[in-house]
Subunit: 394 residues, 2 copies
Amino acid sequence: MAQQQYLVVGSGFAGSVLARRLAQEQNARVTILEKRDHIAGNMYDAYDQAGVLVHRYGPHILVLNRADCFQFLSRFTDWTYYEHRVLTEIDGIQVPLPINFTSIRTLFPPLQAQEIIDLLLETYGEHAQIPILELRKNQSPLIQDFAGFVYRKVFLDYTTKMWDLDPTQVDPSVTARIPVRLSYDSRHFLQKYQYMPKEGYTKLFERMLDHPNIQVQLNTNAVDHLQLKGGRVYLDGSRYKGGVIYTGPVDELLGYRYGELPYRSLHFQWETWQRDHIQASPVLNWPDKRPATRRTEMKRLTQQEIPGVTTTLTEIPGAYSRGDAVFGEPYYPIVNDQCQGQYERYARELENYPQITLVGRLAEYRYYNMEAVICRAFQIYEELCQPKESGGIA
Amino acid sequence: MAQQQYLVVGSGFAGSVLARRLAQEQNARVTILEKRDHIAGNMYDAYDQAGVLVHRYGPHILVLNRADCFQFLSRFTDWTYYEHRVLTEIDGIQVPLPINFTSIRTLFPPLQAQEIIDLLLETYGEHAQIPILELRKNQSPLIQDFAGFVYRKVFLDYTTKMWDLDPTQVDPSVTARIPVRLSYDSRHFLQKYQYMPKEGYTKLFERMLDHPNIQVQLNTNAVDHLQLKGGRVYLDGSRYKGGVIYTGPVDELLGYRYGELPYRSLHFQWETWQRDHIQASPVLNWPDKRPATRRTEMKRLTQQEIPGVTTTLTEIPGAYSRGDAVFGEPYYPIVNDQCQGQYERYARELENYPQITLVGRLAEYRYYNMEAVICRAFQIYEELCQPKESGGIA
């Protein structure tokens, strides 16, 4: 049997995980086309001039529940245990996010805080996690007041500037990402595996892609080289018969024929401070009307000990606009029926090209987190290998 | 009925709480004799030259479960919510104390940590708190190893230098203060009410003692003025018929006639650093063979924002030795049968003086925490008032 051949478009988690598994476990020959001048997609990190290892596309925290995902990644990196913490600033006071008992006790006078906590525990039980939209349905006046406060102070402005939508218009799965938590656990995430790759994400990806069957071409925009016609895929004009793993935007692949898919984008503002630290947590959220949503102190993510200097990244969201100097990168698909419908037109058309597999946040137009996209890549891997195995050497 | 009269020896929590309640609720006339040049006992705090509010006698964290205690103190102060955190340094790595899941995940490789956590949860259930001496009785080899590690690394050297005793010789109630905790709750304490007095402890005590019926005499060692003879109390040679609330050492009160009671003492080392912060937690423990047990960064207790400078207190324990320049203050009674027996001789002798009531860590030779001593003062107050009420104006 001839060696299988794959073209992988994009070297983020979706592309890189599939490339590695196909190359190693199927002995496939894999070429990765990467538009940017580096691998690792938005997970890319690098040292800045202050010596701080910074996440170039915003803070990336790898949290996993699945042991198989974690074990796979562990082949390419050692880990440092890392608990992500987010503080959100409400009327000048910084409290843990998700809002938990610590937040409540910091925001309300002692005896009122005790009343709220007692009633929440009585209603929902210890360690419950209540989405804010559900909490607002509670009829008790005390919880009504409390839920209204949290909705106004934590969700309303933040969601509006992040998505340009009112929280009630955003898909409930998005607001449910940040529930109200009935405990003192002030970790931002609750997943089993919470670790930072010891030498950073880029190193992890370098090792993942370091395989004799994998070839990476940087600075290569695949859509300039791929042509799709009549169910057939052409590469620089010649018929291409291998598999194509596409992790870029689907509308670009099909020349925007059904209109541009909307995304939210981010403007990144970098600052270096002559201070040991600038904030008490890795991420500080501003759920108010200022344009920025949050600031990340990178040293707190990487746990580097560099006295006297620290680097921060402030994020300002805006509508993605192709070619724009500020908001020209598509980061977040928008989760609602209309956008989903538009995406489906692209996806359905691409079903005519069975060689092409769509994977990842952009290609599937889904708000995957890191674990979800790795799991999705695993699932795609199984699907790709199934028919070959049944007709293969066994 | 004549106005009751009380002599209160010492102005720590025991003395001050009783003074206030007797003065205000019984309209008693209270004179406080305080040996030091300030009120508030070991809770005393003051601003140092760097502008940091420092706890002069080591970190004092007020944690309470009883609403009545909290409400009483709330009459004299506003509060700031404060969660105490302690990191302990094990082989150069700092982890939360009590040892919890975060500590385990930081100290052990990911998959081994997962195994330990899974087995602990299976054996003891979520959110359990297991004293180390109990954990060591577990027969599972994995937990045996883990408990042995924690015992050697966290308890053995620390307890030895703190108490000059092996952990197995210390009263189990002492080691049980720091259990192994089966959760990610990294607060040091779990009590309901965890707050710092907004303007510090001294201010709280000032307001508590600010009552027309209370008079405070600083720099006055009560034992120089009190004589006990034949069941009668004399004050500077004259018969004293009021009540005496004694919160000092009992052996001193009786001229050490049954030998000096042993205590542990502390040597305090103050340092000022030209840094925003010097450590990641208010208290950093060193459970190894170096003489110091822990270092407190005071700014993290008081939550002051003072850039560029910070003050720390390092504590070195030693045997209390009366009159010694270094270890001349008795801080911790020693919890064991022999010392308790010696104390009882003093206590029994003082039963001949029904005017005198012993309250607090020194006078009762008990390792009270702050809540326990306030509760004890409340209880004593009830006992003192009971007979008067029954024979009183009602």
